[in-house]
Subunit: 380 residues, 2 copies
C-alpha cells in the first residue's frame, strides 16, 4: 500500500529528533498514564485533529486497524451481553470482501459473521440492498437483529468502493450500530464518518496515513465514545490498586512511540494530499486504460474505478510464467530490476497493485515496465 510510504522529510526527522532512540520515547512526559493524553509532544491534540479530520467526535490510537476493529467488536460483545441480548443476536453483517482482520476480530470477540452477497465476476459489486437482505435473513433466522454492521470502505481485493452512505441509511432505519473500515481510504481520499452515518470508523495509519506500523485509529461519535473508551474498573483485591485512566479495549494504552510520532509528523502532508484525490483518480484511470491495451489484460472490479488499488487479470504474464525458470516469481523480479517494488512475489496470473502518489512520470515508467516485460518475452 503506497499510502503508507513516509515522506523523506519525516524519516529524517524521526532519526534526527531521537524518536528511533528507544521504544518508549514519548513516555517520559506522560503525566496521566495514557499515551493519548500526553501534551508534549501534543498527542492529545493530535487525536482530536484526527477525529475532526474524519468527521468524528473522539479518536484513540490503536495497535493497527485490527486493534481498532477488535475494540469495536469487544464493545459490542459486552453491550450484547449486558443490555442488548433481547434485541440483538451475536451476529455481525459485513461485506463479502472484508479484510481478514475483520474476520479474526469477530472470531476473537465471539461473533458469527454473515456476509452480504456480491454480484461475482468480473465486477464483484456489492449493493446496499444486499446488506438489507442479509439483515432481514438474520432477523428471520435468529429472531433478533445483528448487533453490528461492518462495511469495508474500499475492499482489499479489488479496490471497490462499497455503498457506505446507503448502508448507513439502512443501519439507521434498523437502529443497528454501524462501523466502516476505512483502512484503505482514510488518509488518501476524503472520508467523513458523519456523512456515512457511521458510529465507528477504523483507520490504518501504516496503510494509508504515511506512518510506521503498527498503528491505527478508532474514531467514534459522542454516543458511543463513553462505552467504547470506557476506563478500567478493576480494583485489585488485596493491594487495592486501580488504573482509572487505562482503557481495557485498547490494552490500557496502545503504546508505541515511533509509529505514533511518524503519524504526527506526516499528518499535515496527509491532510494536503487528500485534497488532490481527483488527480490521483485521473492517473488511476489512465493507467487502467493503458494496461488494458496489453493482450487480454483486464481490470477486475468496479468501473469506472474509484480507488488506487487495482486488480488485473493478466493472462499474458501467466503464459510467460509457465515456461519461465523462475515461474510466477519472474514478474516481481523483472519489475524489481526496473526499480519497481510492491508487487507480491509469485503472482502472475492476477496482479494487485497500487500506484498511489506516483507522479505522472513515475506512473508512465511503471506502465512502460509492464509493456517492456510483456514484449521481451512474447516478441520474436
Amino acid at each position: 500500500m503506497t499510502g503508507g510510504i513516509l515522506p523523506q522529510e519525516v524519516q529524517k526527522r524521526l532519526l534526527e529528533e531521537g524518536w528511533t532512540k528507544a521504544g518508549y520515547a514519548i513516555c517520559f512526559d506522560c503525566l496521566d498514564g495514557r499515551s493519548s493524553l500526553i501534551g508534549k509532544p501534543p498527542v492529545k491534540d493530535f487525536q482530536a485533529d484526527v477525529a475532526e479530520f474524519f468527521g468524528g467526535d473522539v479518536a484513540e490510537h490503536t495497535f493497527g486497524c485490527r486493534g481498532a476493529q477488535f475494540a469495536v467488536m469487544k464493545t459490542l460483545a459486552d453491550y450484547v451481553a449486558e443490555n442488548g441480548s433481547r434485541e440483538y443476536a451475536k451476529v455481525i453483517v459485513t461485506d463479502p470482501l472484508c479484510h481478514y482482520t475483520t474476520v479474526i476480530a469477530a472470531e476473537m470477540a465471539g461473533f458469527e459473521l454473515e456476509e452480504a452477497v456480491h454480484r461475482g465476476y468480473p465486477e464483484y459489486r456489492v449493493e446496499a440492498k444486499n446488506f438489507a437482505e442479509r439483515i432481514e435473513r438474520v432477523k428471520k433466522e435468529k429472531g433478533k437483529l445483528p448487533a453490528l454492521i461492518v462495511v469495508t470502505h474500499a475492499d482489499p481485493y479489488y479496490g471497490n468502493l462499497n455503498p457506505v452512505k446507503e448502508v448507513g441509511e439502512i443501519a439507521r432505519e434498523y437502529d443497528i450500530p454501524y462501523m466502516v473500515n476505512a483502512a484503505y481510504t482514510a488518509g488518501v481520499m476524503p472520508v467523513n464518518m458523519k456523512e456515512m452515518k457511521a458510529d465507528f470508523l477504523t483507520v490504518s495509519a501504516h496503510k494509508s496515513m504515511a506512518s510506521l506500523g503498527p498503528l491505527g485509529f478508532l474514531v467514534t461519535n459522542f454516543e458511543w465514545a463513553k462505552r467504547t473508551f470506557e476506563s478500567s474498573t478493576m480494583v485489585t483485591h488485596w493491594s487495592g490498586r486501580a488504573f482509572g485512566k487505562k482503557i481495557p479495549s485498547l490494552f490500557g494504552c496502545s503504546v508505541g512511540a515511533v509509529p505514533l510520532v511518524s503519524a504526527m509528523l506526516s499528518f499535515p502532508y496527509v491532510v494536503e494530499r487528500v485534497r488532490n484525490w481527483n488527480e490521483e483518480l485521473e492517473k488511476v484511470r489512465w493507467f487502467i486504460g493503458e494496461m488494458e491495451k496489453l493482450d487480454d489484460v483486464m481490470l477486475i472490479g468496479d468501473r469506472p474505478h474509484r480507488h488506487h488499488l487495482m486488480h488485473f487479470e493478466t493472462p499474458v504474464f501467466w503464459e510467460i510464467s509457465k515456461r519461465h525458470k523462475r515461474k510466477g516469481f519472474f514478474l516481481a523480479e523483472e519489475l524489481n530490476r526496473r526499480g519497481i517494488t510492491g508487487i507480491h512475489r509469485g503472482m502472475s496470473k492476477h496482479i494487485k497493485l497500487s500506484t498511489y502518489s506516483l507522479s505522472w512520470d513515475q506512473l508512465k515508467k511503471v506502465k512502460d515496465a509492464f509493456y517492456e516485460i510483456a514484449e521481451s518475452y512474447t516478441s520474436g
Copy 2:
C-alpha cells in the same frame, strides 16, 4: 527503561536499509500470510532464536508485552470455558506488584485477580509461600483451583526479583498453568523459562530488548504452543473464505515492520549484553551505596538489590520541592540540564530510575548530578 535503548548502529541501519520508509516494509516477501513465517528478512528463524534464548520451545512476536499477556489469558479463558471449568475457577493468582497491563489483560479476558501478599515497607518482598497461601484460599472459596499463576519476574515498582523458581515448583505441584512476565528482565539479564518451570514467558522488546515499540514476545513450551497459537478456524458463511495461517489471539498477525526489524538488528547486541549482567549488578549496588550517603535517602525494595530498577525515598529533594517555584518538576529539570533524562517529571519525594548499560563514567556523572543538586539547594 534503559534496556529499551537502541544501539546507535541499529538506528542508522533502520534508516539506511529503508525500514523507516513504510509501515508494511516486511510484507512484500510474505508468502505464507503471517509475519512470523517470513523468510526474508529471516523473521521465522529469529522467532526460533528468541524461543531458544529464553529457554522456550516456540515464540511469536506480539503487540508489546501486553499483547502477549492478553494472548495467554485469552488462551486460558477459552481453556476454562471448553475443558477446565470443572477443575479451574476463572481466577488468576498474581503478585501484588504486577504491572498494570497484567490487571488490564485479566479484565479483558474476564478473570478475577487474586494477589499473593507482600511484607510491606520498606522491602515489599513477596515469598513463594504467599502464592501457596493464596492458591489455597481460592481453592477453599471457589472449590476449584485458579486457572493461572502469573508472576512478574522483576516488579515495576521496586525492581524486586520475585521467587519465580519456587513458585514454578508450586505451580507444578498444583498442576496450575504458570506464566512469568519478564518485561523488565528478559533481554537484560539471564532468563530461562525452563529453569523457572514456566509454561509461558512474556517479554517486552521495547522495554528490555533494545527495540522500538510496540513489540513483545510470547514464548511457550510444546505442551501449550498448539493451543496458544491455534490458527483461525472461522470460515465465512457465504464467500467460504478461511484464514488458516492467522492466529486469532495475536490478531491474525501482529504486524509492524520497524519494531520487529529493530529487534532483529539489536538481538546479537542483546545476547552479548546479558553475559555482562554481573558487572551491571555491581554498578547498581555501588550506585545505591552512593545515593544512600545523601541525607536520609534510602532504597525501597530488595537488598542486596538484584535489578537495575531502583526506587529511592528522597526526603532531601522533597524538602527542596516544597519551596521551589517549579515544585516537584525541579528535579527532572535540573537533571535534564545536566544531560540526564528518564526521571519521571514531577517526582521528587520518591524517585525511580534505571541506570542499565551506563558506563562507570556515566554512572558517576549521574551520581555527581544528584549530589550537586542536593548541595546547591541545601548549602549556605
